[in-house]
């Protein structure tokens, strides 16, 4: 049985259709990356899974429990890392973990706190107040707090948004470890690299729906082909090359100071200029083509 099964889920806020006919199945034991641009409905989906938002229609099942009726049982077996840090900053590291061990009905609280401190690598800071920690430590604590009860399912909503690269790597290492331990993970992100590095499978979400789903390799093969050719040139020439490539039936996207011709291996002679830089197609190509979003 899948850990998460969403069928035709709709959630509106007034006029806004935040989640709009979402079908999503997450098999037990995998890490699924929910990749989507701002406003795609990722956080709303996460909130639906913890019954912090109630769907207008559709069916939701998490860890075998029907939502929202049995969401309490589902929440008891699932860990959550929110998009926004909500640790108790005046309270010690240890007490933050202790409180959540109680909220999650953990039996052996001391053992759970110890284990979480190991995960966060904060054993030596256990007596310090959270506001004395560095940004990276806080983030590791936030992740570890969601793991005090050894959940079967772990939800992370943009776990590294706005973090500097070093902290991001630390958090990735944590998720990596968890993933190899067999916990089912659903992680939303709008960082391609994050999805590529951590996710067994990626679901691309846009406008409240999943519009593509597969392993990164499958998605690349299906939507972007094998090679991408990047052409660095002044705007006028970029426009020319673009027109020619689109004429030849290829997909082209802007890529900062360049344009990227996707599926370049299928191009007939002359369409891809000689000065183009050829590289393997990437998940980024897929994402931009599918969502029309420029990446930062």
């Amino acid at each position: 049985m899948a850990a998460i099964e969403l069928k035709q889920v709709v959630k509106t806020f007034g006029e806004i259709r935040a989640v709009d006919g979402l079908d999503l199945e997450v098999p037990a034991g995998i890490c699924l990356g929910l990749l989507g641009p701002n406003g795609a409905g990722k956080s709303t989906t996460m909130k639906l899974l913890t019954a912090q938002a109630i769907a207008d229609s559709g069916s939701l099942r998490v860890l075998g429990y029907e939502l929202p009726e049995r969401s309490k049982e589902a929440r008891a077996e699932m860990g959550v890392v929110p998009q926004l840090d909500n640790l108790d900053i005046d309270v010690t590291v240890e007490d933050n973990l202790r409180i959540f061990s109680r909220l999650y009905r953990v039996k052996d609280i001391d053992a759970a706190v110890d284990r979480a401190l190991d995960i966060a690598r904060l054993q030596d800071r256990r007596k310090d107040a959270v506001d004395e920690l560095s940004g990276g430590m806080r983030r590791r604590l936030l992740v570890a707090r969601g793991l005090v009860h050894s959940p079967r399912l772990f939800l992370l909503d943009e776990p590294t948004v706005g973090l500097d690269p070093q902290i991001r790597t630390e958090v990735w290492d944590l998720i990596e470890e968890l993933r190899s331990g067999g916990t089912t993970i659903l992680m939303s992100t709008h960082y391609i690299e994050e999805a590529e590095r951590l996710a067994d499978e990626v679901a691309v979400m846009a406008k409240g729906k999943v519009i593509a789903r597969g392993t990164p390799a499958e998605l690349i093969a299906e939507y972007a082909g094998r090679d991408t050719a990047e052409v660095y040139a002044p705007p006028a020439r970029r426009a020319e090359v673009r027109a020619a490539a689109e004429e030849a039936g290829l997909e082209v996207r802007a890529a900062g100071p360049a344009i990227a011709i996707v599926g370049a291996e299928r191009a007939s002679n002359g369409v891809v200029p000689d000065d183009a830089v050829l590289r393997p197609a990437s998940l980024e190509d897929v994402f931009v083509l599918l969502t029309g979003e420029e990446l930062e």
Binding site: M1, A2, A3, K11, F13, P27, A28, G29, T44, K47, T50, A51, Q52, A53, I54, L63, G64, Y65, R70, K72, E73, R75, A76, E77, V80, P82, L84, D85, N86, L87, D88, D90, V91, D95, R98, I99, F100, R102, L103, Y104, R105, A129, R152, T184
Partner: protein, 271 residues
């Protein structure tokens, strides 16, 4: 579905969890306690010093120069016993209003709690109980201070923490409901001016209700704080049968604000 002995990896494993679980309520309260440990000194300081200042100013100042005895009581004892209610309302309604608002809007604390197996009903209940316990303690401070101004100990006084508790639960519920209702924090000003201040002034703390016009006396009967003032004075100077009605009134008050607080906060917390 999954068999009981070998659960399917992604399948359900638990029986239904109950509503209002003590474990959930205790967990939320333990969070409050952990936070309170970081700021209890300032709170305890103001809760002790404030009644002393009031007693000196009103009790001795007014008592010595303007007012003589009230209902056969020395004015300082009249005010001292009435101040219990002041301590209770201030240590319940404001922490409930501001605490709830800040935890919800600025700290996102409730988002974290509700992602755990805790429902809004348990969250509100825990917050009310914690504020109630605190206020029950703080409510005793003015009484203790008044001992130094000649108040005689009485057995009935042992019930004062209980009276404080049932009143402060109601005001905590009221504060949480307000916090769940207002759009912005500055709207608390309306509530303070239109509700809290009048309740505080027309409770019979500083002057007896019996001096007021008839309609105001009737209105005061619906002021929970007035009922508390009467109960505390009865605890100090002797109960009457209608004190049971006062207790009943306060219990109803707490129950009603409890339910309203849950509804209002749930609207805020669950989209």
């Amino acid at each position: 579905m999954s068999g009981a002995s070998t659960p399917v990896p992604g399948g359900a494993r638990r029986g239904r969890m109950r509503r209002l679980e003590p474990a959930a309520i205790a967990g939320v309260m333990s969070r409050e306690v952990a936070n309170f440990r970081t700021f209890w000194k300032s709170t305890a300081f103001s809760s002790t010093v404030e009644p002393i200042v009031y007693l000196l100013a009103f009790g001795l100042g007014l008592g010595a120069t303007v007012v003589a005895d009230v209902d056969g009581l020395e004015y300082v004892q009249f005010v001292g016993t009435g101040m219990v209610a002041t301590a209770v309302i201030f240590s319940s309604v404001f922490p409930a209003m501001f605490g709830t608002f800040v935890k919800h809007r600025f700290q996102n604390t409730y988002d974290a709690i509700l992602a755990a197996p805790v429902d809004t009903e348990e969250l509100v209940t825990a917050e009310m109980l914690w504020i109630g316990c605190r206020a029950a303690v703080f409510g005793c401070f003015p009484l203790i201070v008044t001992f130094f101004f000649g108040l005689q100990p009485a057995w009935g006084m042992l019930l004062v923490p209980f009276f404080c508790l049932i009143t402060s639960l109601g005001f905590a519920g009221f504060g949480i409901a307000v916090a769940g209702t207002v759009a912005k924090i500055d709207q608390f000003n309306y509530v303070t001016t239109l509700v809290v201040t009048p309740l505080f002034l027309v409770a019979g703390t500083f002057f007896p209700i019996s001096g007021l016009p008839e309609w105001a006396q009737v209105a005061a009967q619906f002021n929970p704080l007035h009922q508390l003032v009467e109960l505390v004075r009865a605890a100090c100077f002797g109960f009457e049968w209608n004190d049971l009605l006062r207790v009943g009134f306060l219990l109803v008050f707490s129950f009603v604000t409890w339910r309203i607080a849950i509804v209002q906060l749930r609207k805020r917390l669950i989209d």
